[in-house]
């Protein structure tokens, strides 16, 4: 099946073009670099940006982990992991600690990342200003001039309407004190993991044809007001599998009587805790 395709699917010319975009992104943290995104054998909107970034940085000795919603066994994660196993023949893993490259949709692993690891985010809408102003030419100007007042208007309106900032995922951040950036639809619970991370963070938006990056140890600040500071989500429940109270929990409906259970969204984190002898909440 891999016969007829280059290592990691993309031809070397395309990889070089994407690597140039990545390097530019690393040099200008948070800036959206336009790139000539290719059609991939997976649909747009299903991670083609992340796949192109991963394909361009993947080497023979890399160990790849792919998660979707924090889990290694969700259908799209399985599909993308299989794709790279097939077209690149690289080793894959579900263990965060063993991976050199982690492609993700919507989560950052609970296990702290280390230097040398690369996170690759799948990004649906890279432009944080899109919801306020749909025109790209206007938004490019706003970025160039660091003119981000409109973003705070949205947060202000949230407080007026809901008494608090209502954005709960894809929560906008300011990178290295300069560019406003969409962190992709990770829960705001994961935003602090972006700040000064020792790992390199790469973001690929295939349909929207943009790549951006947060180099290691870069300050990343979530937007807020002084008197309405950025707040993390919290659960009163614990994971029913490993008992963790500090990780992001998925809610599972058990029946039609309103009974529900909570389990870690990060399956690797949960499995590791269970292996270490942690029990679930009653």
């Amino acid at each position: 099946m891999t016969a007829g395709y280059n290592f990691a699917y993309l031809d070397e010319q395309t990889k070089r073009m994407i690597r140039r975009a990545i390097l530019k992104g690393v040099a200008v943290p948070g800036y959206q670099v336009p790139f000539a995104s290719r059609e991939m054998p997976l649909p747009f909107g299903w991670g083609t940006g992340g796949i192109q970034v991963t394909a361009s940085i993947l080497g023979y000795h890399d160990v790849l982990k792919v998660i979707d919603q924090g889990a290694d066994d969700t259908t799209n994660a399985v599909s993308i992991r299989r794709f790279f196993a097939r077209v690149a023949g690289v080793a894959t893993t579900t263990r965060t600690t063993e991976a050199t490259i982690i492609q993700t949709r919507h989560r950052i692993p609970e296990t702290p990342l280390r230097a040398g690891q690369i996170m690759v985010f799948q990004v649906p809408i890279p432009e944080p200003l899109r919801w306020l102003e749909p025109r790209e030419s206007e938004n490019r100007k706003s970025h160039a001039m660091a003119d981000y007042g409109a973003m705070h208007v949205k947060l202000y309106e949230d407080i007026v309407r809901y008494g608090q900032i209502a954005t709960s995922y894809d929560y906008p951040v300011r990178v290295a004190g300069r560019y406003l950036m969409a962190p992709s639809p990770i829960p705001k619970f994961d935003n602090p993991k972006l700040d000064r991370s020792p790992a390199l963070m790469l973001f690929g938006a295939g349909r929207e044809k943009r790549i951006y990056a947060i180099p290691p140890h870069t300050p990343v600040v979530s937007l807020d007001f002084e008197d309405h500071p950025f707040r993390l989500q919290r659960w009163t429940e614990a994971c029913s599998q490993c008992g963790d109270t500090a990780s992001f929990l998925d809610e599972i409906l058990m029946d039609d009587q309103g009974n529900r259970r909570f389990v870690c969204s990060d399956t690797d984190h949960c499995a590791a805790r269970q292996a270490a002898g942690q029990g679930g909440a009653p």
Partner: protein, 278 residues
């Protein structure tokens, strides 16, 4: 070029210690020219505006008034001339040779622009409070309570009831929208405000109330204003000085009462005679 008739003209001199200290005119426009294709819309326009002064620009439609405002604010790039502006630091800069970033910064901090149609100067879908607070947020203010307090103060000053603070201006009357736009422009404490027919399109009684408000604010805040109007009554009520434009050129300039009571240029005489005397 039409020389200034009755106002002492003191061109800024960078070596003049008085100018360096920031005592010169706030705005010094010289030789401004603008053409749409081959149609000349503005030619040889010279203007000065002193701190705290209200200057009205009058003329009928097509005389170049609105083009002049566009060139002053940087929205249009004139093909000739310069727009000298005295910064807070006492430096005289040409608005059109500044980089885009620097010009935007100055426009945010030192300039206000009140448009004839308030819908062009407001975000209609967000609350009145956010409309007034936005310029402050752009300047980096990040305290919700303080921003709301400022918005409340300004709504009060422009006579908008406090309980409308969370309503979007789309639900406001035309006069109230215009007052909101004025608040949004004044909240940053600008040093110069451009107004394009601010009372245009409003009912006469609403106009009168708005003019009262403007007169009060201008004197309270000691604002420098360039006011474009086709309505000489508005000019008489608000302006210290008046320039009259025709076909893109200034045909007459002087103290407002002087120009209106003793017009020298034939066109001004025509304009004045066609208006009912107060």
């Amino acid at each position: 070029m039409i020389p200034c008739i009755s106002v002492p003209f003191d061109p800024a001199d960078p070596d003049d210690p008085e100018d360096a200290a920031g005592d010169g005119p706030l705005l010094e426009v010289s030789g401004l020219g603008f053409a749409y294709g081959s149609r000349m819309a503005l030619a040889d326009v010279d203007l000065t505006l002193w701190p705290g002064e209200v200057l009205a620009v009058a003329g009928e439609s097509g005389s170049g008034k609105t083009t002049l405002l566009g060139c002053l604010s940087g929205e249009l790039a004139p093909q000739a001339g310069r727009v000298g502006f005295l910064t807070r630091e006492g430096k005289r800069v040409d608005m059109h040779s500044l980089g885009e970033a620097e010009r935007r910064r100055l426009l945010r901090t030192d300039w206000g622009i009140v448009r004839q149609n308030p819908r062009d100067g407001l975000r209609l879908a967000v609350s009145a409070g956010a409309n007034v607070g936005e310029p402050l947020m752009v300047l980096g203010h990040r305290h919700y309570g303080w921003l709301r307090g400022q918005a409340g103060d300004w709504l009060d000053r422009v006579e908008i009831p406090a309980d409308r603070i969370d309503d979007p201006p789309a639900t406001f009357s035309g006069g109230m929208q215009q007052r909101l736009q004025i608040a949004r422009n004044l909240v940053t404490d600008p040093r110069i405000v451009l107004m394009d027919e601010p009372t245009g399109g409003l009912d006469v009684s609403v106009q009168a109330r708005l003019l009262d408000l403007l007169r009060r604010l201008v004197s309270e805040l000691d604002l420098a204003v360039v006011l474009v109007t086709h309505d000489l009554a508005v000019a008489r009520l608000l302006a210290d000085r008046l320039v009259v434009m025709k076909d893109g050129r200034i045909v007459e300039t002087g103290l407002t009462d002087q120009v209106l009571d003793d017009p020298q240029h034939a066109y001004t005489q025509l304009l004045v005679s066609s208006v009912l005397q107060p």
